[in-house]
């Protein structure tokens, strides 16, 4: 299978077939499969009663998801680009994420939100963001960032069986759709349904000299960087967090204790986001084993610019990761 879009759509299809409570809603979820393919094929199979194009009304359809979830359904809602969250975020962060807690546990919120993230293809400041850090910041959302088709399918099935709001952040450059560059790989994905539990990071590559912790499209990019680093004799361990919430701190800490050096790579804005949070959690468990301060590489707190050389200057690249890793390992000489 090529890419996460097919995998997510297949997972929804398999679960929808047996669960009448699942409906899919959002803008252009029928003909366009929510633009990035996450709902493709569902309209043809389930029709407009269960696969529903909404008017451009994010606040309303997110709020409807809250109300429908509170009365027994499991809405699967598309937020076409994560960048549009501002148009519907109140219903998400003040209600979808909080109603279970605020109702003293009376209302579960089984909602699965699908959203497309990421830049690198020239779509500029309002269509290239990642923003999962914003969701992870608000208590009540589970935050899923699949990096492979295998994970995308298994994590989506877990989301569809979860009684909580789960936001699945699918990177556009991992969708496998022909109109976008593809940075993933062709994979074997089992036909039958399977689940992957949340909160289990995946060690994508083993290494002894440093740990690169990352998510989304930065996983394949970090793996490419690790290959280059290997040629220079630097062994990079690459860890895909897979879910930011819940977070598998143990795997991160164990790796940090092993290598003593950690680089966190993120396509989100640098400050007050995933990189800082992961660094904090890792140092809390591995401080005595660290040989150098934890480093990070992320978008340097500017909006994503349109023009290619500008965009390339701010989104972490393979070369950027290699350079950051080298610098971090170079710190070994000083520390050893």
């Amino acid at each position: 299978m090529r890419g996460i879009a097919f995998a997510i759509a297949e997972a929804i299809d398999q679960e929808m077939a047996g669960n009448r409570e699942i409906v899919v809603m959002g803008e252009d979820v029928t003909y366009w499969g929510a633009v990035f393919g996450f709902t493709m094929g569902l309209h043809a199979k389930y029709g407009r009663e269960r696969v529903i194009d909404t008017p451009i009304t994010e606040q309303t359809f997110m709020g409807m998801a809250v109300g429908a979830a509170a009365t027994g359904m499991h809405p699967v809602v598309s937020l076409m680009f994560v960048d549009f969250l501002g148009a519907g975020f109140d219903q998400m962060y003040n209600h979808m994420a909080k109603n279970h807690y605020m109702s003293g546990g009376q209302f579960a919120m089984p909602v699965t939100v699908l959203t497309a993230i990421g830049g690198g293809y020239g779509d500029a400041g309002q269509h290239s963001q990642v923003l999962y850090g914003l969701f992870a910041h608000v208590p009540g959302f589970k935050v899923v960032v699949p990096a492979t088709a295998y994970d995308a399918k298994g994590l989506t099935l877990t989301a569809l069986r979860d009684r909580n709001p789960v936001v699945i952040f699918g990177h556009k450059l991992l969708t496998g759709l022909p109109f976008l560059p593809f940075e993933g790989e062709e994979e074997v994905v089992p036909e039958e349904p399977y689940t992957i539990p949340f909160g289990q990071a995946a060690v994508r590559r083993a290494g002894d000299d440093l740990t690169i912790v990352t998510a989304g499209v930065m996983v394949p990019r970090s793996l490419r960087a690790a290959e280059q680093l290997a040629q220079e004799g630097i062994g990079a361990e690459v860890i895909d967090v897979r879910t930011l919430v819940p977070l598998d701190v143990d795997t991160l800490v164990a790796s940090a204790r092993k290598t003593g050096r950690v680089l966190v790579v993120d396509e989100d804005y640098q400050s007050f986001g995933m990189t800082g949070e992961l660094a904090f959690r890792i140092q809390a468990g591995a401080f005595d084993a660290l040989k150098a301060p934890i480093q990070r590489l992320a978008v340097p707190d500017v909006p994503i610019p349109f023009s290619e050389p500008l965009e390339a200057a701010v989104i972490p690249s393979v070369e950027g990761i290699v350079a950051a890793a080298r610098a971090l390992v170079g710190a070994r000489a000083a520390a050893d």
Partner: protein
């Protein structure tokens, strides 16, 4: 909202009533031709590197591309009543509005190519065009134009200026809460705001019938005591006549208005759109109503221009568009370090 073609005497009457002269009409024809030529040239350049496989990230122009061919009459009919000091807030489909507002085609094209000479030095791109001198802004976020234009209108009123602000939007955008909320505020404070809805019958792949229970957006304005005009968006004269009333009213301090112009986009929602949500026949039907051809025919009927004059204007427009593209292509890209500049004023 197609309207029948008026008989010659009626056409003269309508022009008279709208205060449209030969000179203005010819200028509108030329501008509409420029927009069409500009959009089609951008489409050509955008396609470079994107065949046989359409890859949005390839070629000299990257990212999404929403073109306005077919919708020229709306932009031109409205903007020919504006001055540089009036404000326009546009959308993800902004080129026709920008050109009609008088933005330099070269700097516009350069921005679309991501060049240092572009309107925003390459930082904005095609959906995010800004020109302070022309008081022009836009947004890739649907529904974002309304409140910002209302804010400009508020500012004009507060400062005692006679300018108006225009918010362009699609019919899909008018379903967004910002439309209703903006009308609430603009009607309450009688702001000099004109909302122009380009009803091209589709929002992305979603036909209007699948997103709106009623036939039109403009009647909603009545609920706020705001006058609304439903016009033929493929007819620059009809658009102009309504816009004139709306804009003059607003300038005189009598508050906001809504114009809904029914029109059609000839190209896909964005370039690369497979368009499986509409039929070829439908597109052809609307081609018969091409606003440029229609205006040309009227100019000939009025004997305000002959075929040769029109051809001359079209050539002139083609040359201007080509010149803009040449300027853009020849311009340098911005330096990478500029990416880190300009977050704060």
């Amino acid at each position: 909202m197609w309207k029948p073609e008026p008989a010659l005497t009626d056409l003269r009457y309508l022009l008279d009533r709208a205060g449209l002269t030969r000179e203005t009409l010819l200028a509108q024809y030329r501008l509409m031709c420029l927009i069409r030529a500009f959009e089609e040239s951008i489409a050509d350049r955008y396609a470079v590197g994107k065949t046989p496989v359409f890859n949005m990230a390839a070629g000299p122009i990257r990212g999404e591309m929403h073109l306005s061919s077919g919708q020229e009459a709306v932009a031109v009919g409205v903007c020919s009543l504006l001055t540089d000091a009036d404000a326009v807030v546009s959308t993800h489909r902004p080129h026709h509005h920008a050109l009609a507002k008088g933005i330099d085609p070269g700097r516009l094209a350069a921005e679309i190519f991501g060049k240092a000479t572009g309107l925003c030095r390459g930082k904005g791109g095609h959906m995010h065009l800004f020109d302070a001198e022309k008081r022009f802004a836009c947004s890739g976020i649907v529904g974002a134009s309304y409140p910002q234009a209302a804010g400009a209108a508020f500012s004009f009123r507060a400062r005692g200026e006679a300018q108006v602000a225009v918010a362009f939007s699609g019919e899909g955008a008018a379903n967004h809460g910002t439309f209703s909320e903006t009308l609430t505020a603009a009607a309450l404070w009688q702001l000099p705001l004109v909302i122009v809805i380009e009803d091209n019958l589709y929002a992305d792949s979603t036909p209007k019938w699948a997103a709106l229970a009623g036939p039109h957006q403009s009647p909603r304005a009545q609920a706020y005591n705001v006058p609304a005009y439903l016009v033929d968006g493929m007819d620059v004269i009809d658009v102009y006549a309504a816009a004139k009333r709306a804009i003059e009213r607003a300038r005189a301090g009598y508050g906001p208005a809504v114009i809904e112009a029914v029109c059609y986009r000839y190209r896909g929602h964005f370039e690369g759109d497979g368009e499986d949500y509409r039929t070829r026949e439908e597109v052809e039907q609307w081609r018969a109503l091409d606003p440029i051809t229609r205006l040309g025919r009227r100019l000939v009927r009025l004997e305000w221009a002959d075929e040769a004059t029109l051809a001359g204007l079209r050539d002139e427009a083609e040359r201007a568009a080509a010149e803009a593209i040449r300027f853009a292509e020849a311009s340098p890209l911005p330096e990478p370090h500029e990416a880190l500049m300009g977050v704060f004023a």
